[in-house]
Symmetry: C3
Subunit: 311 residues, 3 copies
């Protein structure tokens, strides 16, 4: 196994070497995705279960496409219409699924720690597709992979992550992965949405966006959960946009070749103006495209398929 763990729970503690193995593997699959026949037999006869306990469009479809293009057999499971509604424990549900000889489990759950818990009780390899406010490692991998493609390197890039850092699994996975890759990571957001003790992670904190953006190569804009507003964590959408939105006006103050990223789905006109999302600096659709290649790489690397890739 070229990676240290046979699971992908998060990017905390992952080494630069491991990240580079994932990126180089994704390069191979990205080339496959440019072909007229975007399919390889790599995971024929392997079974992947997608366990989505939270609604998802792009992440679920991205994983499902990655699995099918690797020729794996895919089983979809969502919490509605399932034994979970019969009061069965998560542990029983998942152990039963595993008894059917599953090779890989992709899991999204609102409770942080669910993928780690599953990795301790299952023989299958676990891939975290987002667990509460903890980690979303494949999103961070595709973010870094898209930057590596854009800039040809990652080291010393100046990246600013803007938004609700406290509740963002995307931010946390990116902080772990990007600092491992030698990226210079800064954060900006309302003080009410900024976690404490972040200084230990080696990142710089800003509370004023106009100051924060000045010299940055990349702005990674996080989705604001509009329901946070009800909890009083920020005063109004208008105020949020004024202070922390990447608006058309603010785009003028950024470097000419700045790169704009967003994990989607976008609240257009809130954290990101539609004009900025669609401008030449945005690589948002490239992120989505690269997501499939990154997930193919992760699925392949964790599958235990030992033959080298000749595809």
């Amino acid at each position: 196994m070229p990676l240290k763990s046979r699971h992908l729970i998060g990017l905390e503690g992952i080494s630069k070497e491991e990240l580079e193995i994932i990126f180089k593997t994704a390069d191979i699959f990205k080339e496959v995705l440019q072909r007229p026949i975007k399919k390889v037999p790599t995971l024929t006869g392997k079974t992947v279960v997608n366990l989505f306990f939270e609604p998802s469009t792009r992440t679920r479809i991205s994983f499902e496409l990655a699995e099918r293009r690797l020729s794996a057999d895919t089983i979809n499971f969502s919490s509605s219409g399932s034994s979970i509604s019969k009061g069965e424990t998560l542990k029983d549900t998942v152990r039963n699924i595993e008894a059917m000889k599953i090779d890989l489990v992709v899991v999204r759950h609102s409770s942080p720690g669910t993928p780690l818990f599953l990795s301790k009780i299952l023989n299958a390899s676990i891939i975290n597709a987002g667990d509460g406010a903890h980690e979303h490692p494949t999103q961070a991998l595709l973010d870094m992979y898209s930057l590596r493609e854009k800039f040809g390197r990652l080291e010393k890039l100046k990246v600013l992550i803007v938004g609700d850092i406290s509740h963002s699994r995307v931010a946390l996975s990116n902080i772990y992965g990007m600092t491992s890759m030698g990226i210079n990571v800064s954060l900006c957001g309302p003080a009410t949405l900024m976690p404490r003790e972040l200084d230990k992670l080696g990142v710089k904190i800003y509370y004023n966006l106009d100051e924060a953006i000045k010299d940055k190569d990349v702005i990674l804009v996080l989705r604001i959960q509009l329901e946070r507003q009800k909890k009083g964590l920020f005063p109004s959408i208008r105020e949020y946009r004024n202070c922390f939105g990447i608006t058309k006006e603010r785009l003028q103050k950024l470097k000419d070749d700045v790169v704009i990223m967003h994990p989607g789905p976008i609240n257009r006109g809130v954290e990101l103006d539609g004009d900025v999302a669609d401008c030449k600096n945005s690589i948002i659709l490239e992120q989505v495209e690269n997501g499939v290649a990154i997930r193919m790489a992760v699925l392949y690397l964790l599958s235990g398929v030992e033959s080298s890739l000749t595809i």
Copy 2:
């Protein structure tokens, strides 16, 4: 590409030549469906997304079967449990899905114009699986294909479409396609459910069913939406059946070899009596069977796969 457009938005403006290409291609796939192994590798490595924003059984399953029997990879997407519920725009959702390298999108939506809109913003080929009261082109194609199979020709057939013409995408697509094929199309239904300006389409309008049915070769019965009654568009189900239902009694007044069609699902005992639906004149199940062959033909013709069919 043997068809003028790389999308199938509707049958408005489609030529007789194009319709015949579709029918001849469907002939090939119909033969495949008679084999013990009903599967060809034609679309291996192509990805089709089924976007169903309205509930559907037969159309969705028919497309899905057509896709699998062409060996395409199929992704199903329904509006529940998706990012749509997170407030994302349709445009963002679909552009994101497309970024994952989709070849074909099959879309059903309650808003007329959705498939046309998508065809303007996507690189993938769009197939309209029903958009509001606008068009449902594959249904009309399978209706005509079933008649061609039954009669050996389409020209000069006398077809009567009965029911709620105003709200029927099935009727509109059939009017466009059938008039292109030289079919003599008449319509019959309550005046409240008959659109104006239909005379421009070259069809004859009846308001009295017993007069309308006399010399017809084919009666295409539309499903009545029972919820229209609440809006006062027809007085009662009993009254509707009396005036516009193809009842057991009315069947006696029809030509002996008349052909009865219905796009399903049937309200038995309302627009169509159960005895008529199941009688020897009905080709309702043939319509369903031919739907898979027609959809295989459309998927193949729009896929851009250039090799000739040797299957």
Copy 3:
């Protein structure tokens, strides 16, 4: 066809010879499931529709895995989001699906008799995946198969089925199948949940669990439907557990090598203590694993594929 019927509606009247054909076929597929590539081309080009009108996790996934590992094309259909909600009859829905050239239909429905009804109107082969309180034949097959694997034989085994016998399709299928195989079947449960006229089936009835368990080789614990309690069929969960639960304490009174089974999902601490479910005597996960092999065997045997298995 090596089985008498081309449907699997239930185990009532099935012969020992037929059961042994199924078990021997399952042996072959069980071996396939131990391979790195758990897939055979046996049902390539065959189409299976999974019609689940009741929620299900493990049975649906088990069938779906069995189908994919046989390389069949699989279509999933659940009652929500379907034409059923448009008021179409079950008969119309299923006949329409069949017109699309389906080979096998797997059906779960809350109404007993639904699979039998479908077998009379369809050309496809029907597999009952549970119909109300009637039968659940593949569950009983996998139960017997798991015992055959554990003991090397079935004849003269002493099996006690404990719980809500009246409402259990698992119990009824096992009573039919196990008595055919020469197993000595006993039942135990509250008198309110014990059907009358069971003596005709050649089984022994107990109402006292501690008396019943003494000399048994196997305890098959049924899931208690907690909603039965509301109907006054048993006084309280605590009382049920005291009288009919296989508790940690009761395990001590059982034979050392007793085998504990449960069809899942378990109400831990009600009909079965968690410690017993997870102890060395439990073969609950083996049951789940064997379910896929049994279902592959049934699908293959009913598919009409005539070539012998060389896989």
